[in-house]
Structure formats: structure tokens, C-alpha cells
């Protein structure tokens, strides 16, 4: 089917810049297809911004980038009314948020005040400045990047705000083979100036979304989903389990993943594929559990039976 081809070419296009990260690229696309906002978390210099740029380019969306700093104010993102001396009135100067895709770099470097201004806009698809509500363009995506929380000079996002991101991705160090290729490309000068081309049009995005809405989730699969969710709420390793919003996010992503792989029904593998990205930032380990969110997801994957008994 051509859908598959379109997605594959998009993945390839991004993969041409971010080498050896195909699974993460597919998950990032999945997140955008499912109308979710994406959070990319990793150490500096792992390619977070590169991935964001490439995704924006491949989707052909108008995009703007905001580098979050500790002195950034809400008005810097949302926009501000400025007095125009010529007509003697105030005119609104929209901020960078009025775009289809917003790259919010290092979101946890700014103050909670600015963070929440952004997250509010993400949740509602509109901003209210000086008493006037303005809609954001559609589609509206936010791809935010952040450094690991343990880094100094960060304001960690609270759980309630993390929950607004459909997925959180970690890029990790590249595979040695991919890294080697990267070196070679840099040497030949091919890497730096590779501008990705648009591969998915807005119409194609709509087609993908229609396909997703037609994907069937069977009773068996919903049972599995419920067992997963119940496990996070009952097991002692979890301080905070998956919220209903989290559970719905898991289902949406699994459906999108199935559609991206040209299936009209969800299989447990789909759930397991998207589970780390969807769940790891929503789960909080209990005090006496040594692992982090990723370890919890691993526990979920292993312990929860795919087939009810």
C-alpha cells in the first residue's frame, strides 16, 4: 500500500540525517500521527534538535523554534500587544507559538511559569493573551526536548505536565556502526548540509489519520491493555500507576502503530512497541524500588500476561 511507502520514505529521509535511529524515528512519527506532542529527552548532543528539525521538514509544516532559557517569559512565546504610535492603538504581535510545529528546545531550562504557559496551549490548542483567546493553527504539534532531570540548572516538569506529552523518547548513543558512518560522512562533508525534503503532505496525514480511526482493537487486546493498566495500579513497585489518559494514549498509539504497519487490527506487539515511549514518563516508581520508569516498563512487559488465563 502506498501509505506504507510514504511512511517508509519519510523514515528514510529522517534516517539520512539521524543515523541508526529508525525505531525512534518511527515512534516520533507515530506520536505525530496520533495528534500527540512529543518529548525527547536525552543528554546534550545526542541529536534531539536534529530529529526535531528533520521531522518538521519531512512533514512540510511551518515551524518555529524557541530556545528555552531561565529568563524566558510567557509573553516571549505567546506574543504581546505593542502600542503602535502611528494609529494610536495596540496591535498584537503573535509569538512563536503561532505555528504548526513548535520546537521547544530544553524546555526544562525555563521557569515553571513559562513551562505552564506552553503546556496550557498544548492542551487546549489555543492561547489567551490579554483577555483575548486566539486559536492556534491546525495541525499544531509541539516537539520539546529536555535534558535529563538530574542535570544542573533544570526545572523538572511535574508529572501532571509530563502526562500531556503523548510520548517521551530517548535517543541514546548511536550504534557503533552508525557512529562510524557518521564520522565518514562528516569527513566527506555530506552530513552538515543535508536538508531533508517534505515527504508527507497534509492530505496524506489526513489519510493516515483516517486509517488509524478504522483500526480494530479486539476484546482480547483490550483485556491485555486492562491487565497492563491494572498491574501498574496494583503492584507495589509503582508509586503512581497509569492514568486513564495514559491508558487511552497507549491505545491510540498502538492503533496508530498498527495502521503504520499496514494492519487493520491491533496486535499485542503494537502495544509492546509503543509501551516504553508512552508509559515510561507517566510511571513513578515507589520509594523502595530501585529502578526508574524504564525499568517499570520492562517489568510490565515481562510480568503482564498477553493471554488471559
Amino acid at each position: 500500500m502506498q501509505l506504507q511507502g510514504v511512511i517508509d520514505s519519510a523514515v528514510k529521509e529522517v534516517g539520512g540525517i539521524l543515523l541508526g535511529k529508525e525505531p525512534q524515528i518511527r515512534l516520533a512519527l507515530c506520536c505525530l500521527f496520533a495528534r500527540g506532542h512529543l518529548l525527547i529527552e536525552d543528554l546534550p548532543g545526542m541529536g534531539k534538535t536534529t530529529l526535531s528539525h528533520a521531522l518538521a521538514a519531512v512533514l512540510g509544516l511551518s515551524w518555529k523554534r524557541v530556545q528555552f532559557t531561565s529568563d524566558l517569559l510567557p509573553a516571549d512565546i505567546l506574543g504581546v500587544s505593542v502600542y503602535d504610535a502611528k494609529d494610536g492603538s495596540f496591535s498584537f504581535h503573535p509569538g512563536p507559538i503561532f505555528t504548526q510545529l513548535l520546537l521547544a528546545d530544553e524546555i526544562n531550562r525555563t521557569t515553571p511559569r513559562t513551562q505552564s504557559a506552553l503546556l496550557e496551549a498544548m492542551a487546549e490548542g489555543q492561547v489567551t493573551v490579554e483577555g483575548e483567546t486566539r486559536s492556534l493553527p491546525a495541525p499544531f504539534f509541539v516537539i520539546a526536548t529536555q535534558n535529563p532531570v538530574s542535570q544542573s540548572g533544570t526545572y523538572p516538569l511535574p508529572e501532571s505536565q509530563l502526562d500531556r506529552f503523548l510520548m517521551r523518547l530517548e535517543l541514546g548513543y548511536p550504534h557503533p556502526r552508525a557512529e562510524r558512518e557518521m564520522f565518514e560522512r562528516r569527513h566527506s562533508g555530506a552530513l552538515a548540509i543535508n536538508n531533508p525534503q517534505q515527504r508527507i503532505t497534509l492530505e496524506q496525514l489526513e489519510i493516515i489519520r483516517t486509517a488509524v480511526s478504522k483500526v480494530h482493537a479486539s476484546e482480547n487486546l483490550l483485556d491485555y491493555l486492562q491487565r497492563l493498566v491494572a498491574f501498574t495500579r496494583q503492584s507495589p513497585e509503582f508509586e503512581v500507576g497509569l492514568s486513564p489518559r495514559g491508558a487511552l494514549a497507549l491505545l491510540d498509539c498502538a492503533k496508530t502503530w498498527a495502521a503504520m504497519h499496514n494492519r487493520t487490527h491491533v496486535v499485542p506487539e503494537d502495544v509492546q512497541m509503543v509501551l516504553p515511549a508512552v508509559a515510561s514518563h507517566r510511571l513513578v516508581p515507589s520509594g523502595d524500588y530501585a529502578g526508574d520508569g524504564n525499568a517499570l516498563v520492562d517489568l510490565l512487559q515481562r510480568k503482564v500476561d498477553v493471554i488471559g488465563s
Binding site: H216, H265, R302, V306, I307, G308
Partner: protein, 679 residues
């Protein structure tokens, strides 16, 4: 106070409701001040709950206890007996509420509540009382449930739903226990209901007694005939035989007043098919039973006296059911012993001279005793005698003379009494019989309902060769009474049930009301014959019929067996409850497949999807690659793809999958596995 020990507000409200619901059926029997105690207890406890008043001190409690006991003693004159004891219990119940502060107090109160539910049955086992008790038990259980729901700070009506569900679950066990649990004889005797009035016929009769009994619309007993119901004019329910007249009062001969040789009823030759019927009597606190003409009963606890009455050795304190065979044509006492002849002709030495004179005169005018009977009846018929419920009081001596020659207004007992007096005056053995005559036929269930207003008195005359013959002088005065009953006979006078203007019987001409009344009566009959009448004998019969014998082992087996039968499914359903729904058929098949793989050493991890498991399995057992992939593909298709609504294709797919799983019986080839695992 420890918060664990507090009574939740919800429970407290339910306890209040219980308090009044439990006392309600007793209210009419209790002195008014006990009800006042209930209101005081309620208000006091409510104010304690609102923090306005405090719990009573120990001296106050002692004072209240003593004054309550004293009050009971003053109201009843005693502390012993059923009513005073129950009243004491009810008062204690109310007082306990005042000092209810902790959960353990509430437990005591509620368990006492169950006990109070039971005490209602000491007074009545009516179906309505039983229904009320079911409601009360539900309320007490609700309060008990509420006590176990800490943190309910608001009144919660939902609690009763939970309690009702629990009680409904107990119904099967209740039925088993009702039918099977051994019914012991009374371990102790309940104190006699000294304060309950005896009802129905009394053991003596003076003019006006039957007339006053006829003012009541209560049911005396209900009869179910096995065959056709005889005509009403044949329904003379004999209850008492009065052989002795003393100071214008007729009374029966006591058991010990009859000489030893006469105490057993003489043999009566019976021929033909008897009339079979069973009678359920309402409690009377007396010990006589009723039957038609010559009646014999095989029911336990029914005895026959020398004048062919049926009686029970003890007073009837609750509904009593017995079955009777009657021979309407049998002649009783074909020959009369000297003692009995003397007893049945005896008259007071003095008084009523005019009546004696008249009797002798009439007797001398006829040739036989039978003609003498006819002569008197003819006189009753011809002379202007009036059959009335309002005969006016007779006073002083010579009351029979007064009735016969002056007032000439009388109810059945006047006529019967005068008739027997005249018979005896002429030396003919005769006696007064009291009981009921007629009855209302309930078309719903073909029972005969005999009311108190059917009370009647008639006479029996001993005729040579025929034995005791029934003669009803009332029939000569008012044939309507015998044919149609009292209501018809009293229509002109309008005195039928004049004292009970609201009795349902007065509205018999309203078809709907009458139908409702008869239906309710039919239900009452059923209730009495099936539930109240289910005594030890019937239980034995039932068990005998189903299990061919009764022994301790059988009792124990049935009891335990039925408990197991009820409790095991409950236990299983509770055990399985952690599953939201049962395993589907395809999952079952897939798990069978997994079981077979596990035997080969390939155990599917919980988190492994069928696809991943198949990959691993194929890698380990390449020989079976085809089957493994087929089974996995089929399972995935059934479990995860969208099935069209037709159902047929689903069934087919499931069938194919089941067959594939059944066919797949991998052999244990250790070599293959070991090889692949190690590589």
C-alpha cells in the same frame, strides 16, 4: 474514643429505623408508657449524637432499669408470663439504645433485634406478620451491614440493597433448614399467654353468649373437604356438648365427672365412605376441636370424648391443623347406659314450672318421643317466636319460662336450651350442642371459612334405636338461618356485625372487595396448611417419601449436602471473581497449545506475544515451523482481527483453529531441542 469503635452515622439512622419497626407489631399489646419510653430513647440518643445531651450516668441507668421493671409489674400484675416478659424485653431494647456508644453496644442491640423479631411469632403466625418480620429482619441486617461500613457519614439508602442481596442469598439455605432441620419438641415451655383472651365458644353457655359471639367477624376455622362440599344445612360443626344445667347455665361434664367406665366413647358402627376433610383452627386458647356429626381423627393430638366430641389435650395456642373422617349417617350410642340416661335427663329440682308443665302436657298428647320432638318444633314454628340477635336480657329465676311465655324473642341458645329443658322434663334424654353452623365457601380454593358469627347451638335427642339425633329448634323458627346463614336471617333486623362497621365481611356486596378478601383468605389457608402446619409429623412424612426413611445420618447428610451444594458454587464464584470475565474458547485452545509446548521445554513467558513465542518456538523446533506458524496465525486472526457480525465465519475459524491445535501433538525430541538451545 477510638474511631474504630464509633458507630457510623448511617448505622445509627438504620438502628433508629429498626427500633420503631421492631416495636410496631407489638404496639397494640404494650402499655402506652412503653411506647413513650421508645420516643424518649430515640430523642435522647439523637441529642447525644448531636452533642447536645450526654450519655446517662450509671445511677440514672440503674434507676431507669428498676422503674421499667416496676412499670411492667404494675401494668401486668406480674413479671412472669409471655406478655410481661416480651414487654420487659422491648423496654430493655429501648433503654439499651440510650447507652449505645460503641460498636459492641450496637452489636448487642441488633442481635437482640433479631430475637425481638422472633417474639412476634409467639403471638401470631399470620402471613402478614411473617411478611412484616421479613421486613424487620432486612432492616436489622441493614443496620448490621451499615455498622461494617465505616466512614459512612450520611444516611445511605443503598445499604438496604446490600443487606437484601445477602438475605436473598440465604434463602436457599433457609428453605433447606425449614424442610430438613430436625424439629425438636419444645425444650422448655413458653409461659402461657395469660393475658390473651380466650376466643370462640366458651366451656359453658348462658342465654346471650352465642349472640354476643355472633357479633365477631373473625375466622374460627377453615375446612378443606376432599370431595364435594356438603350443603350448608348439613354443616353442623360440633364442638361442645352441654349436659348439665345449673342456674340457667349449661355446661359440659368434666373429664373426671364421668365415671371411669364411661370415659371411653362407645363403639359406633360405621358404614359407607366417610366424609374426609381437614380443619385448620385459629388459636383459641381452649382445647376443643370441631367436627361434623360422628367424627374420628387420626391426627396426633386429637382425642375423642365419651360424648363424641373432638378435643386436644392442651389449649390451642397457635394455628392447629387436623384431618377428620365423618360419617353423617352413623348412629352414636345405640344403647344408653343407666348413668348416662340419668345424666342426660337431669334437671335442676326447682324452677321453670310452666315449661315443665307444658312439656308433660305435650308428651302425653303424642305416642312417641319422635312425635314429641315434632310437636315442640311445631309449637316454635306456629307461635310468634322471633329469631333475633337482640333478644333482650332475661333476668332472675325461671328464665326459660320467661323466654317461652313472655318475651318469645331469642337467639339459637334460647331455643336450644328451652327445647332440651322440655325434652328432659318429659324424661327424654337430650342435651345442648354448641359449635358452628354453615360457613362461607371460598370459590378461590374451595375451602369453607367458618366465622365466629356462624356460632350456633342446637340440641341432640336420644331416640330409641337411632341413638343421638340432631334437632335444631332454630330451624323451626328461622329456616333462613340454616339455609343461608346469619346474614340473611338478620337482614330485616340489620344487626349483622353491627358492632364491626368496618369489617371486610360487611362489604361482601362489593365484588372487588369481596374477591380480594376471598383471595387473601385462600392465601392464608395455603400459608397455614403448608408453612404453619408443617410440623414434625409432616416433616417425617416428607422425608420418608423422598428418602425412604428418617435417621440421624440422613438428616446430617441432607443438611451438609445441601450446604455444600449451595456454598461450593458461591465459593467457586468468589474464587474466580478476580477474572473480569471467563477465558474465551480460543484462549483456552491456545493455552492448551502452550501447555503442549511447555512439555517440550518451551514455556511461553507471560509478556511474550503469540508472535514472539512462535518465533522462538520455530527457532527451537524448525521441524514444526509450519504447524507453529499456522496455529499462531489462526490464533491472531481470531483473537485480534475484526470479525464480521455473521458469526458463522467466526465459528468456522474457531473450529479450524481447534482442529489445528488438536492435531498438533509434537513428539518429545530431546535431541532437537537440546541442539537448538545450545547453539
Amino acid at each position: 474514643m477510638n474511631i474504630q469503635q464509633q458507630v457510623p452515622r448511617n448505622a445509627l439512622v438504620w438502628i433508629f429505623i429498626c427500633l420503631f419497626a421492631l416495636v410496631a407489631p407489638h404496639a397494640a399489646r404494650l402499655p402506652v408508657w412503653v411506647l413513650v419510653v421508645y420516643v424518649i430513647a430515640f430523642v435522647w440518643r439523637l441529642q447525644v449524637h448531636r452533642g447536645r445531651w450526654s450519655f446517662p450516668g450509671s445511677w440514672v441507668k440503674v434507676a431507669m432499669t428498676f422503674s421499667a421493671s416496676l412499670g411492667i409489674y404494675l401494668s401486668y400484675g406480674t413479671l412472669i408470663g409471655l406478655e410481661p416478659t416480651v414487654a420487659l424485653l422491648l423496654t430493655a431494647f429501648a433503654l439499651k439504645l440510650i447507652e449505645l456508644s460503641q460498636r459492641k453496644d450496637a452489636y448487642v442491640l441488633l442481635f437482640l433485634g433479631y430475637f425481638i423479631c422472633v417474639t412476634e411469632f409467639l403471638f401470631s403466625q399470620d402471613i402478614l406478620i411473617t411478611l412484616l418480620s421479613v421486613v424487620n429482619v432486612t432492616l436489622v441486617t441493614t443496620a448490621l451491614v451499615a455498622l461494617h461500613q465505616p466512614g459512612e457519614h450520611q444516611f445511605n439508602r443503598g445499604t438496604i440493597k446490600l443487606a437484601s442481596t445477602m438475605l436473598l442469598q440465604a434463602v436457599p439455605l433457609m428453605l433447606v433448614v425449614f424442610f430438613v432441620f430436625p424439629r425438636f419438641g419444645p425444650l422448655w415451655t413458653v409461659p402461657i399467654k395469660s393475658h390473651t383472651a380466650k376466643t370462640g365458644m366458651s366451656d359453658h353457655m348462658k342465654p346471650g353468649d352465642v349472640a354476643s359471639l355472633s357479633q365477631s367477624g373473625d375466622v374460627a376455622f377453615r375446612v378443606k373437604f376432599e370431595g364435594e362440599i356438603p350443603p350448608k344445612s348439613e354443616l353442623y360443626w360440633r364442638g361442645l356438648v352441654f349436659s348439665r344445667l345449673r342456674q340457667d347455665v349449661w355446661s359440659g361434664l368434666g373429664f373426671y365427672e364421668v365415671p371411669l367406665s364411661e370415659r371411653r366413647p362407645s363403639e359406633v358402627s360405621t358404614s359407607g365412605n366417610p366424609l374426609s376433610y381437614s380443619i385448620i383452627m385459629e388459636p383459641t386458647q381452649q382445647n376443643w376441636l370441631y367436627g361434623l356429626h360422628y367424627a374420628r381423627s387420626n391426627s396426633p393430638g386429637v382425642m375423642q370424648s365419651s360424648d363424641f366430641r373432638l378435643f386436644s389435650p392442651g389449649p390451642l395456642e397457635s394455628e392447629n391443623m387436623y384431618s377428620v373422617n365423618s360419617w353423617l349417617s352413623a348412629s352414636a350410642d345405640e344403647s344408653l347406659s343407666d348413668w348416662r340416661r340419668k345424666a342426660e335427663t337431669k334437671l335442676p329440682p326447682l324452677g321453670n314450672l310452666k315449661t315443665r308443665e307444658l312439656a308433660r302436657e305435650l308428651r302425653s298428647g303424642v305416642s312417641s318421643d319422635e312425635e314429641f320432638v315434632d310437636a315442640i318444633l311445631a309449637r316454635f314454628n306456629v307461635e310468634p317466636y322471633v329469631y333475633t340477635l337482640r333478644p333482650g336480657a332475661l333476668s332472675g329465676d325461671n328464665q326459660i319460662d320467661q323466654f317461652l311465655f313472655q318475651s318469645q324473642r331469642g337467639f339459637c341458645e334460647h331455643f336450644a336450651s328451652a327445647f332440651v329443658f322440655m325434652m328432659r322434663s318429659a324424661g327424654v334424654p337430650a342435651r345442648v350442642v354448641a359449635g358452628y353452623q354453615g360457613g362461607e365457601i371460598n370459590p378461590v380454593n374451595k375451602t369453607v371459612i367458618v366465622h365466629q358469627f356462624d356460632a350456633h347451638a342446637w340440641a341432640e335427642v336420644w331416640i330409641e334405636g337411632k341413638g343421638w339425633v340432631r334437632v335444631d329448634p332454630t330451624g323451626a323458627v328461622s329456616p333462613d338461618r340454616i339455609e343461608w346463614g346469619l346474614e340473611e336471617a338478620m337482614q330485616a333486623e340489620g344487626s349483622f356485625l353491627a358492632a364491626a362497621p368496618l369489617s371486610a365481611l360487611r362489604f361482601r356486596n362489593v365484588p372487588l372487595l369481596n374477591m380480594l378478601r376471598l383471595r387473601y383468605d385462600a392465601i392464608t389457608y395455603r400459608w397455614q396448611s403448608w408453612v404453619v402446619g408443617f410440623d414434625r409429623e409432616r416433616q417425617f412424612d416428607l422425608l420418608q417419601r423422598f428418602f425412604g426413611g428418617v435417621s440421624t445420618q440422613i438428616f446430617a447428610t441432607i443438611l451438609l449436602g445441601s450446604w455444600v451444594l449451595v456454598l461450593v458454587p458461591v465459593a467457586i464464584s468468589l474464587f474466580r471473581k478476580k477474572d473480569t470475565h471467563p477465558v474465551s474458547r480460543w484462549d483456552k485452545q491456545y493455552l492448551i497449545f502452550c501447555g503442549r509446548m511447555a512439555k517440550l521445554g518451551l514455556v511461553r513467558a507471560p509478556g511474550e506475544t503469540p508472535g514472539q513465542f512462535a518465533q522462538r518456538a520455530v527457532a527451537a523446533l524448525p521441524v514444526y515451523a509450519k504447524e507453529l506458524e499456522q496455529i499462531t496465525r489462526q490464533y491472531n486472526a481470531i483473537a485480534y482481527t475484526k470479525v464480521d457480525g455473521s458469526g458463522g465465519s467466526m465459528g468456522e475459524a474457531l473450529g479450524r483453529f481447534t482442529r489445528a491445535v488438536n492435531r498438533f501433538k509434537p513428539a518429545r525430541r530431546r535431541g532437537v531441542i537440546d541442539e537448538t538451545v545450545s547453539s
